[in-house]
Amino acid sequence: MMLLEIKNISKSYGTIEALKDVNLNFSGNKIYGLFGRNGAGKTTLLNIISTRIFADSGNVKCKNIDITQQPKAIMENLCYMPEENYFPKDYKVKNILKLSQNSYPNYNKAMEEKLVKLFKINVNQKFSQLSRGYQSIMKIVIGMASYAPITIFDEPVLGLDAVARDQFYRILIEDFGMNPRIFIISTHFIEESADLFDEAIIIKEGQIIRQKSVESLLENNFYVSGKAEKVDEFSQNYKVLSTQNFHGMKTVVVEGDMSSIKQVPELTFSKLTIQKLFIHLVGEQNNEELL
């Protein structure tokens, strides 16, 4: 039975279509990465999953139950840590932790204590006095300790330094290995977090343009570079995603599996990084020509 299933979701704000016919399957206990530019619809999607807002059409099912009809079906399985802060501002950290313990049925106090110690959190501070980074850390602590079957983080590493981001990634992997659950994590730090995910979901202008493993995404595109006429000759049989010219040398990004091509002398083939691929997929076409 599918724990979470999204079918034909659309949502508009006035004339702006935030989501257009979105379909997603969360087929098992996996770590899902949600990638998209600002305004692509990530937060709208997460807000619909968590029943904070409702879609105009389509449905979200948790264990086959439509959550629009029965929000409880998802709420008892979910911990959603949104990007904006929703904790009462004048609460002390320890009170927010107490509140969280009472909110999530699988909450694990030992995990909370471990993370409070790891991140050196002062539990007597007021939430409003925490730095941006520590406000993110609070969400990481509660999300991890919730042990909710569906744990969602919207931009969990915002404002965190490189050390703290690495600590979060390590904790996530360590705990996921022992206690698998569905994690949905939206982030702009694609390159450094890419290896964490079972699947990458790429959203562009309200539409899901990819849902597959990072590995298979990367296997589906490659760079070809060399003398312009040689590159053109090669790439005429491929779909070209972008073109860059530099001193008579040409580099194109094409769609296809690099391992299946025959090497051609005078041409260089190489893999894209996930960040570059993302930019090619969701950015403006041929944006490098402008440089």
């Binding site: 996996k30 770590i31 690495d166 990634y169 390590r170 992997i173 360590e174 996921f176 290995g177 022992m178 290896d195 964490l196 995910f197 079972d198 590995e215 990367l218 296997e219 893999k271 990084t273």
Partner: protein
């Protein structure tokens, strides 16, 4: 074990190669246990499924085998197997780029052979 993975090659292939390197260098001996999927995932901060994919390549090739309920072990004869496999790849991986670069630098065949002999004497 490699201290860090790089972006030039699929992560699961790097996991498999890194274990092979350890076996070739006798860091992990035949018939001894290799790190678990979860241990590898934590060590490299990668998804456990990716680590498992790397391990499974080696299982399919008979380099590792599973002891039920205990974990993954290095097969006896694994060193020989890895050597045979890598010898096949040696030509494409080392000789082709070596000759290509030598040709770009106008290094003659004899010079190249002399260099190899010189390196062997060390």
């Amino acid at each position: 074990m490699k201290p860090e993975l790089d972006g030039n090659k699929s992560i699961y292939l790097q996991i498999a190669e890194s274990i092979e390197d350890d076996i070739l260098q006798n860091i992990i001996a035949e018939e001894s246990q290799v790190p678990s999927t979860n241990q590898l995932a934590v060590a490299y901060v990668i998804n456990p499924a990716t680590a498992a994919k790397g391990i499974n390549i080696l299982v399919d090739e008979g380099i590792l085998y599973k002891k039920r309920g205990i974990g993954m072990f290095v097969s006896s004869g694994a060193v020989k197997k890895i050597q045979t496999k890598r010898k096949t790849a040696f030509y494409d991986k080392f000789i082709v780029p070596l000759v290509a670069e030598a040709s770009t630098l106008d290094i003659s065949k004899n010079e190249l052979i002399d260099m190899i002999k010189k390196e062997e004497k060390k």
